[in-house]
Amino acid sequence: MAVDITLLFRASVKTVKTRNKALGVAVGGGADGSRDELFRRSPRPKGDFSSRAREVISHIGKLRDFLLEHRKEYINAYSHTMSEYGRMTDTERDQIDQDAQIFMRTCKDAIQQLRTEAHKEIHSQQVKEHRTAVLDFVEDYLKRVCKLYSEQRAIRVKRVVDKKRLSKLEPEPHTKRKEPASEKSSHNASQDSEEKPAAEDLPEKPLAESQPELGTWGDGKGEDELSPEEIQMFEQENQRLIGEMNSLFDEVRQIEGKVVEISRLQEIFTEKVLQQETEIDSIHQLVVGATENIKEGNEDIREAIKNNAGFRVWILFFLVMCSFSLLFLDWYDS
């Protein structure tokens, strides 16, 4: 019995040694293989791509941190309670707007450039997919930061419009609509014929008479002092002044209307952009599903092609065998 156990033990030891040798060889092979793979996987283009993508991401992160840091001051929420000390001026807010827009445009261009370069370079499919996914994520990040900025900018614009609306000491808009019409009519009347200006002058004369003597005296003295040349020159200036003032007023009114329309359109645009974002997300998902379906279809087509080839082989084999059978029968009869 003792002898049997010793022999069994020795056999076990040999087995273990053999296994250890095999494991050692396998581990060494694996290490060498992974090292080779690592060596192969370290070309410069990938490193360059990674560093540049990381740089873009860090820039977008800085922009986001900056916007969030100054968000309260930018929106100027509850400006009535804040003291003058920590308040941000409108000039600084405009500067933030410009810098943010430039920054976002720069990041977008950088992403586009990286995408173009990734498309141009010759790499394996896996690398291409990886880079495309990375750039998609980066672009999504930039979109979220842009959305953050657009939100607070929209609020700022709304507040400015509200304050401007309230700052005018004038009646409500429904009353305001009547005034432009009357002004336009008076403007057209003055342009149409000369009689109406004279008619308009008539109501002013009683006003002039009702004015204190100062005005009348001033008018008389001014006119007395004027020489014919001066009167002529002043008349020309008067005509030019009327033209300039009327055009100025019209321009101001047009600009005001356009600004109001722009604000409304901007609100609509923001809503549409948000909707499109949702739709784009769903389209993206559909596209991904379609891609997967197409891959499956391709595999099915390959299998179908293979089956069809097998079928043709059997048909050819059958035809060949028939031919040989005919030859054999012909030889046997002869």
Partner: protein, 734 residues
């Protein structure tokens, strides 16, 4: 005979001076001579030889003394006496010989004078007659000369006139220089002026300009030369200021002519509904002339040493034109709201542009003085109130009135203010901006009263809307109203510390002190800055806020009480003890209570702003603590299991509900916490505490024992009552 009398007097007068001279000559000599003279006189008398001898002996004794050696001096004395004797003799001889000669010469002179006088008198008669004849001859010449003198005076007056004329010509020279410089710089000829002024702006032109400008500065303006515009009436209370410097007045004349031509006469540009036209025109003129005034005119003034600022003086002259225009136009449009509002808006824009861009100082006369006139100002207040109320109507009736404009940005929306409150405070701020630049404090105070009225009106409107929502005190709109009230009171408290309103408070204090409107206590509070101009408003808003919060707390509390009915009737007396149960779990009857509480807290946390929610849940906790203590604990008896279950429910389920809002929620439930401590004491500790309380009630209070157990707030009697609620006392038989 008369001549002989006169001759007799003259010698006597002549003798006296000579004797005086002799006396002086004698006095000049020494005492020796005097003694000698006296001696000689006595000798002359002849008598008294005895006395003379005595005198001589005394003299010798005095001079020589008892010293024998000094006898030598006698020789000198003799010589001196001899000399004086000789002199006296000569004088006597001279006098005796000269006096007659002098008398005779005097007589001769008198006779000659008499003769000369006679001759002169003889000559006078023909001379007098000749003079009279000469005067008669010269009379026509005198008349001619007077006429010529009057002509000369007239010529001098003409000369003065010519000087003034030359000064006037200097004025015209100044105007010519200005014409060469293409003054005034009208905008449409700006490009031409730039091109043309370059060759014209030679150093010689500017030198002439400087010279004439200095001369005009020295020249004092007279009313005849330049007629100044009449001062506006007293009711406008314009600040007293000196008239504009003469050269700048001359520079202003063409612009004044243009302004009056365009905007005061019958031109189309004089439209009462377009005040922005002349405001824009004046601002344009100020802007286009500022460079020239700063670059060319100001150095001349600095060189002269004048304290005048050229551009500001120029601006002031133009602004006076605006003031005259406004003073004449405002009475015509007082009763047309649209035109009046438009005018006020344009005036405020003009003032803002004038002060911010052109640096016009507020101490000068401005349009705000015209707007501060009583009739116009009252109209302005009326219109402000009217349109503010309209805007309040529209802001409260809009669709988004009760929705916060920051709801999408949760980290910024700390106060959850509805849009109507935000817009209302913007309206108040805008009104403040409008009246901030009024010249007098009394006008500002009137606007402040208007603002207070608007705040009160808005509060009343909020109260009305709140009453409509009373049936749903946890609804969205009710919470929005509460947030609005909180926001408005917060903003007003912040504004009360603003420098502008502190100054108004000081002005109000002075007015009240003069009128004795307020009591002394109120004056003291205002003076010591304990209260502010908005205190009445803030107190009313705070009361409204507290009322609304109380209503909400009552509502939630009522719901919680309804949900707690089952819990109140739990079988605390017969629950299984802790050792008999496998695991402690929440009482099933407590679930409705806790679920209701949780849902309401979450709802109000989302709808109320942070500070309001803090007040809310603390008020709720206070009521809930008392309710649980009085209605559940004091109304039941507890065995060991019941007490343990109660403590588990409270400490592991109720208190953690509030741990979101504070770190140690159990400190807000003191009654319940301490009651649980007492009910869950071990039997031995309970017995000891009971004995201590019973014995302590006789002599010493048991505060230390209670504190040791962990009871700080409950009174001794309360603890005794709680101990009696326990049912796990050991049997006295054991």
């Amino acid at each position: 005979m008369l001549a002989a009398g006169e001759i007799g007097d003259v010698p006597a007068a002549l003798c006296c001076p000579e004797s005086g001279d002799e006396t002086k000559n004698t006095e000049e000599k020494s005492d020796v001579n005097t003694a000698a003279l006296v001696g000689s006189e006595q000798l002359g008398q002849g008598g008294g030889d005895h006395e003379l001898l005595l005198y001589v002996s005394a003299f010798i004794e005095k001079e020589v003394g008892s010293d024998l050696k000094s006898l030598k001096t006698l020789g000198k004395l003799i010589e001196q006496m001899t000399e004086s004797k000789v002199k006296l003799e000569e004088q006597v001889l001279t006098i005796s010989s000269e006096i007659p000669k002098r008398i005779q010469s005097a007589l001769k002179d008198a006779e000659e004078a008499k003769q000369a006088l006679g001759d002169i008198l003889g000559q006078e008669a023909p001379l007098f007659s000749s003079i009279n004849s000469h005067l008669l001859i010269a009379q026509p010449w005198t008349d001619d000369l007077g006429a010529m003198i009057s002509q000369i005076e007239e010529i001098e007056r003409h000369l003065t006139y010519l000087k003034w004329v030359s000064q006037i010509e200097e004025l015209s020279d100044f105007e010519e220089i200005l014409a060469q410089l293409h003054w005034p710089f009208i905008t449409h000829t700006q490009s031409q002026a730039v091109g043309a002024s370059r060759p014209a702006s030679t150093p010689e032109t500017y030198a002439s300009l400087e010279t004439l400008f200095c001369q005009l500065l020295k020249l004092q303006a007279s009313d005849e030369l330049l007629t100044e515009s009449k001062q506006l009436p007293e009711k406008y209370c314009l600040p007293a200021s000196p008239s504009v410097a003469l050269p700048i007045q001359i520079m202003l004349v063409p612009l004044q002519k243009r302004f009056r031509y365009h905007f005061r006469g019958s031109r189309q540009t004089n439209v009462i509904s377009k005040p922005e036209w002349y405001f824009a025109q004046v601002l344009l003129w100020i802007g286009s002339h500022s460079h020239f005034l700063d670059e060319k005119i100001q150095p001349i003034l600095d060189k002269v040493g004048s304290a005048v600022n050229a551009r500001l003086e120029f601006s002031r002259g133009l602004v006076m034109l605006i003031l005259e225009k406004l003073a004449s136009d405002i009475p015509c449009l007082l009763y047309d709201d649209s035109l009046f509002c438009h005018l006020v808006d344009e005036v405020l824009l003009f003032e803002r542009e004038l002060h911010s861009v052109h640096g016009y100082p507020s101490t000068f006369a401005s349009c705000m003085h015209i707007l501060s006139e009583e009739t116009c100002f009252q109209r302005w207040l009326t219109v402000e109130r009217k349109f503010a109320l309209q805007k309040m109507d529209s802001m409260l009736s809009s669709e988004a009135a009760w929705v916060s404009q920051y709801k999408d940005i949760t980290d910024v929306d700390e106060m959850k203010v509805p849009d109507c409150a935000e817009v209302f405070m913007t309206l108040l701020l805008v009104i403040t901006d409008r009246y901030k630049n009024l010249p007098t404090a009394s006008r500002k105070l009137q606007f402040l009263e208007l603002q207070k009225d608007l705040v009160d009106d808005f509060r009343i409107r909020l109260t009305q809307v709140m009453k409509e929502e009373t049936r749903a005190p946890l609804g969205f709109r009710y919470c929005a109203i509460l947030n609005a009230v909180n926001y408005i009171s917060t903003v007003l408290a912040d504004w009360a510390d603003n420098v502008f309103f502190l100054q108004l408070q000081q002005a109000a204090l002075e007015v009240f002190a003069e009128n004795n409107v307020l009591s002394k206590l109120q004056l003291g509070q205002l003076a010591s800055m304990e209260s502010s101009v908005f205190d009445d408003m803030i107190n009313l808003l705070e009361r409204l806020k507290l009322d609304m919060l109380t209503r909400q707390v009552d509502h939630v509390f009522r719901e919680v009480k309804d949900a707690a009915k089952l819990y109140k009737k739990e079988r605390w007396l017969s629950l299984l003890s802790q050792s008999e149960q496998a695991v402690m779990s929440l009482s099933s009857s407590a679930c409705p209570l806790l679920l209701t509480l949780r849902d309401r807290l979450l709802q109000l946390e989302q709808q109320l702003c942070f500070s309001l929610f803090n007040i809310f849940w603390q008020m709720l906790v206070e009521k809930l603590d008392l309710y649980l203590y009085q209605e559940i604990i004091l109304a039941n008896h507890f065995n060991e299991g019941g007490a343990a279950q109660l403590q588990f429910d409270m400490t592991r389920n109720l208190f953690p509900l509030f741990s979101h809002y504070c770190k140690r929620p159990e400190n807000y439930f003191k009654h319940v916490k301490e009651a649980c401590i007492v009910l869950n004491l071990n039997i031995g500790s309970a017995l000891l505490l009971k004995d201590v309380l019973q014995s302590a009630s006789e002599h010493i209070p048991a505060t230390a024992a209670l504190n040791e157990v962990g009871v700080y707030k409950l009174a001794q009697q309360d603890v005794e009552i709680l101990l009696n609620l326990r049912t796990n006392w050991p049997n006295p038989g054991k």
